[in-house]
Symmetry: C2
Subunit: 187 residues, 2 copies
DNA sequence: GATGACATGTAATCAGTTACATGATTAG
DNA sequence: CTAATCATGTAACTGATTACATGTCATC
């Protein structure tokens, strides 16, 4: 009877437009995948669940050039439930960061290998940052400045803004780590 | 035969000092809990596993004023395995942030309730930030400036530094969210 | 005698990933 | 005919949380 966070994630997407399970799986890679992922194996059963609870409905749509699909639509009840959930404070998320775990033990490591590790991480996060900045610029361009908070696009903009801030700090921290580790190599 | 991330987390702690399962559970709350948590129900079986694989050893220690405990010590083999793991690039972690999910759907919400949500989040992260800054100051004070990368304390310092940067950005983003939402209320 | 910190375990459940399984349709 | 995309499902496994379970010792 309870809706899982994944359930709300699917409702969040369906509140914007009707989609098939396959479509939802695509969107759970991107853009939602930046902060909430799910495989299709988790999505299909969840859709059955949501439908049983009356949050969504589906109709089979025949297509000419592709196999038929089930198109899911959010119901009024689903929208109401989603709306109530949106402003409920989320439970503090369990933080799990393996790189920080490794950082905690970095004193044990070969310092040259440690430098490599953080250089690689810096690059990965710099790439992520570039991607987010591009998405952000894209939104600003296509919606004529910043979207307002009552439009769906505001969600895209606000989340990517967080992504940019996060990745910027991550890159800066990796650089600082490299500096610290190199000081040890020099002496 | 494979060691889980939790296993490495425990080795990371045992590389600093011998500890009991109970002690480890405490440290998995803090300081490690800031980036990797585990309950005692997960720790005890994992310790048995690590011992079976020869990474750790235990001896029962009788105490006068407390019940007896199993004191675990890292072995040479354990230390070698840990050392190799530390500089291996971690798999990209699955990002899951329920607040960003809600943010993505915030256009559906009552704007006044949305403001409350982000004000509350701002406060939570401001508290976290204050805690991290205090820990950071504490390390700087007790180790006479910044620890160097070959000392265990460097791990404490480097991780808390990331925590400070992260929470600062989080607070700033929450404030920005409140601003955006309030603009909608005013008009 | 009750509460709380110390101490160690197991069992049940849940969320999520990986693997298994099938089939339509299009483009090369 | 083969590979890629579209499309939908189930099964097995893993990591983690919550609940169950027991017992010591000190303090109030």
């Amino acid at each position: 009877m309870r809706i899982s966070t994944l359930g709300y994630a699917l409702l969040t997407l369906l509140a914007r437009e009707p989609l098939s399970g396959y479509d939802l799986a695509q969107r759970m890679k991107r853009p939602l995948g930046f902060f909430w992922q799910a495989q299709h194996s988790q999505i299909y059963p969840e859709l059955a669940d949501l439908e049983e609870q009356g949050c969504i409905l589906h109709q089979v749509v025949m297509q000419e050039d592709r196999p038929p699909k089930k198109l899911y639509t959010i119901t009024g009840a689903g929208r109401t439930i989603l709306q109530a959930w949106v402003t409920q404070p989320p439970a503090p998320p369990p933080q799990r960061n393996e790189l920080l775990l490794k950082t905690y033990a970095i004193w044990l490591a070969d310092q040259a290998l440690a430098v490599d590790l953080f250089r690689t991480q810096e690059q990965l996060h710099a790439e992520r940052l570039a991607l987010y900045e591009q998405i952000q610029a894209n939104i600003e361009r296509t919606s004529g400045g910043r979207p307002r908070s009552h439009e769906p696009r505001f969600g895209d903009y606000a989340t990517v803004r967080m992504g940019v801030a996060y990745e910027r700090e991550y890159v800066a921290w990796c650089r600082w780590m490299v500096e610290q580790l190199q000081q040890a190599l020099e002496s």
